[in-house]
């Protein structure tokens, strides 16, 4: 092997910043997912400003409006219509899912996509460069499929809870959400938690032949979606209880990104973070 030739070719390309830039982009295909996440955040925050005064609509706006940080928990959207309770349960379920799923998916893209650096790189560099986007696309679709199923499950759960328990006082809802984060904290100390965390680093062989490429990437996405659900479902469920409160969403995202990339997998730091969140929600609930 002629090492000299390699060095010469490399140092040549280094003199062009554009070429350097291109290499950085090729080497970091995860920018794709971060970009989508950023877009989702723009949608969420955009809604916050344009619809700050419109509450009470069965839309994503209702779900994603914080209604003030102090009043952490609003009513669920289906409580807000007087006629709502006159409708048959089946149509109310459909409406809940129809209106709740989109905000849920936007929340998943905003919060979960930044956690996918490693699996995205795995897919991207398992296939030919021209197929990179196809592979990453398949992976993200698979990942979304899992979280969509989870979203339907969560929405049904919160619907039936509402049906059984009825409307909760602000204090009671705050207490429930705070307990959700307390539970998330307890899970950090669960002996099974580090194993779940290491599974976030799983890889799978991707075939590069024809449609196998897309399907293998997609199934890998489904599997990684499940692994992420396994580690993140408690804080995510607590967020649904808090009706996607935006400042809270932002804090939770920061905590899980920090946990994923900057902490050793046996660290308990995130447990303390969830405790602080739970305590804050509890205090806000009392006020």
């Amino acid at each position: 092997m002629s090492a000299d030739a390699g060095v010469a070719a490399n140092s040549n390309s280094f003199s062009f910043p554009a070429e350097k830039m291109r290499m950085l982009i090729i080497k970091h295909p995860e920018w794709w997912a971060w970009f989508l996440s950023l877009f989702a955040w723009v949608l969420i925050v955009g809604n916050l400003f344009t619809n700050a005064h419109q509450t009470g609509h069965l839309s994503m706006i209702t779900y994603c409006t914080p209604r003030g940080i102090v009043k952490v928990l609003g009513h669920s959207p289906f409580e807000l219509h007087a006629v709502w309770k006159e409708e048959p349960v089946s149509s109310r379920i459909l409406t809940t899912i129809r209106t709740g799923l989109l905000p849920w998916m936007i929340m998943v893209v905003a919060m979960m996509f930044p956690l996918l650096n490693e699996p995205i790189k795995h897919v991207a560099f398992s296939v030919k460069r021209k197929d990179m986007d196809l592979g990453i696309g398949g992976f993200l679709i698979g990942y979304i499929i899992t979280w969509t199923a989870v979203g339907v499950m969560f929405l049904l759960l919160s619907f039936f809870l509402n049906l059984i328990i009825g409307d909760l006082s602000h204090f009671a809802s705050a207490l429930i959400t705070a307990s959700g984060f307390l539970l998330a904290a307890v899970f950090i100390w669960h002996p099974g938690r580090p194993i779940k965390m290491t599974k976030c680093g799983q890889t799978a062989p991707i075939r590069i032949q024809g449609w196998h490429l897309f399907l293998d990437s997609l199934f890998y996405g489904v599997k990684m979606g499940f692994n992420c659900f396994n580690t993140c479902w408690v804080p995510m469920a607590a967020l649904v209880l808090a009706h996607h409160n935006i400042p809270l969403m932002f804090i939770v995202t920061a905590v899980i990104i920090h946990d994923r990339y900057l902490l050793p997998h046996t660290s308990k730091f995130t447990g303390y973070a969830w405790m602080v969140v739970a305590a804050t929600l509890f205090i806000i609930g009392i006020l």
Partner: protein, 463 residues
């Protein structure tokens, strides 16, 4: 400052190994819960209660303590070299303190085993003190070693020619030290020095040494790793762009150990880059330190901008290795229109020979499989197969890497061989086909009944 000496150059009448043996016997008497015990020290590298070598180890420390201190060895990672250096440093301190307690000399240092020394005809054989007498009265002996001598091809030092420290053979050329990872008990591409000779020596000796969860129970483990640690300095001394990583994620990552007093202690990679600064400091006999720069000041190294390699062929199904030769045909199974061809690899218009790397991905398995030798386009009629030899893979730690645990994802191991020279040679042969590369994988010795290997995908990456 201690000097770690070549075990084969110890003068007649030297007591280094005699004291080591006495210290091993003494450390074995300590309970497994004692961080300075033989069992505890070995379990820090790897532990599994179901393996026969660990029979009688109980009572064990708490699960929390085990999660923090046991099964910590770093493999398939750029932490492979610094972690083992830290591990050896505290082990050496514990053994030396034990020897002092037993009335021995104050300056005991761990010797190293240079199996690659071609000037010594016995170099590839485990030093006699470890095998004779071959019973429990000898602190340096352990039951179950499969072989006392390593075949020559498994101790070659081609790894020293690798310039970058970091690399995975996919997004960048292969690295001497391993790929950039977080805490990695297994999973990433094994670094060049780690693959050969490190992994090979482990598996060739076999028995306890063949599995990371028992390897450090064999007293020869520590002399083997002293040699690997020495080769890191030898590589740095060769200069020519050989420098350590300069990212904070490597320099500042913290690992946990125990010192000779049994107290918890920590090390970062940055703290062990210069061997003279590690605990009381040490050097290796015949290896100068402090010459060339350890690393550059730039945050980003050239590797961050180099063109990533691109996949040119891959199997479209897993490959199971058995006791006979297995042949995988790369690029054959795709439909003719979509055949992934090796033209990119073999494009004669390219003036410089392309870098070509053969990958074994998501390797899972059971037991301690033998070393497998890999040949490319090996002729059916036999003949001189050595000219088709591409390298070997050892699957050191494959069973552990196949099970999800606190320390690894369970997706298996990843090995890579640089086959550039062989491919460049083969493509000038009349039998070369751009559409097909035959990869033959042969066990180097009989396969144990309880051992198996499955490779998730075999692939070829080129520049």
């Amino acid at each position: 400052m201690k000097e770690r000496k070549n075990v084969y150059l110890l003068p007649a009448g030297d007591t280094t190994l005699a004291w080591y043996s006495k210290a091993v016997v003494e450390m074995k008497k300590r309970p497994t819960t004692d961080p300075t015990s033989w069992n505890y020290q070995a379990a820090m590298h790897g532990f599994n209660a179901s393996l026969s070598f660990w029979r009688g180890a109980a009572p064990l420390p708490s699960q929390t303590e085990q999660n923090q201190y046991w099964n910590q060895c770093q493999h398939g990672s750029w932490f492979f070299l610094p972690w083992h250096r830290m591990y050896l440093a505290y082990f050496e301190q514990i053994v030396a303190a034990t020897i002092v307690k037993l009335g021995g000399p104050a300056d005991w240092a761990l010797p190293y085993w240079n199996y690659s020394d071609t000037s010594n005809p016995n170099a590839r054989t485990i030093p006699p003190a470890f095998t004779n007498p071959n019973n429990a009265t000898n602190g340096l002996w352990i039951t179950g070693r499969v072989s006392d001598t390593i075949p020559p091809r498994y101790v070659t030092l081609g790894a020293l020619n690798t310039i970058p420290y970091t690399g995975d053979g996919r997004t960048s050329p292969l690295g001497f030290g391993g790929p950039e990872t977080g805490f990695s008990h297994s999973g990433g591409t094994h670094g060049q020095l780690e693959s050969l000779p490190h992994d090979m020596v482990h598996v060739a000796i076999g028995g306890a040494m063949g599995d990371p969860r028992t390897a450090a129970l064999d007293p020869i483990f520590w002399l083997h790793h002293a040699n690997i640690d020495r080769l890191w300095q030898v590589w740095l001394n060769m200069a020519g762009g050989r420098i350590n990583p300069n990212k904070s994620s490597w320099l500042d990552y913290n690992f946990y150990f125990h010192n000779a007093a049994g107290q918890s202690a920590q090390f970062t990679s940055k703290q062990v880059e210069d061997t003279r600064q590690v605990l009381s400091g040490y050097t290796y006999q015949g290896v100068p330190v402090g010459g060339p720069t350890l690393r550059t000041a730039n945050a980003l190294q050239n590797a961050d901008f180099s063109t990533p390699l691109e996949i040119t062929a891959a199997t479209n199904q897993g490959v199971t290795l058995g006791s006979a030769k297995t042949v995988a045909h790369l690029g054959l199974n795709a439909s003719p229109q979509k055949a992934v061809n090796l033209a990119a690899t073999t494009n004669s218009a390219v003036s410089k020979p392309a870098l070509t790397i053969l990958h074994f991905e998501n390797v899972t398995g059971k037991g301690v499989p033998p070393i497998y030798d890999v040949y490319l386009n090996e002729p059916q009629n036999g003949g001189d197969k050595e000219s088709y030899y591409a390298g070997s893979v050892s699957f050191f730690g494959v069973e552990e890497a196949s099970t999800p645990s606190v320390h690894q994802s369970g997706s298996g191991q990843h090995y890579a061989l640089d086959i550039s020279d062989l491919v460049n040679k083969l493509r000038s042969s009349p039998n070369w086909k751009d559409q097909q590369l035959d990869v033959s994988i042969e066990p180097s010795r009989a396969v144990d009944a309880d051992a198996s290997v499955n490779i998730g995908r075999i692939s070829v990456y080129s520049e």
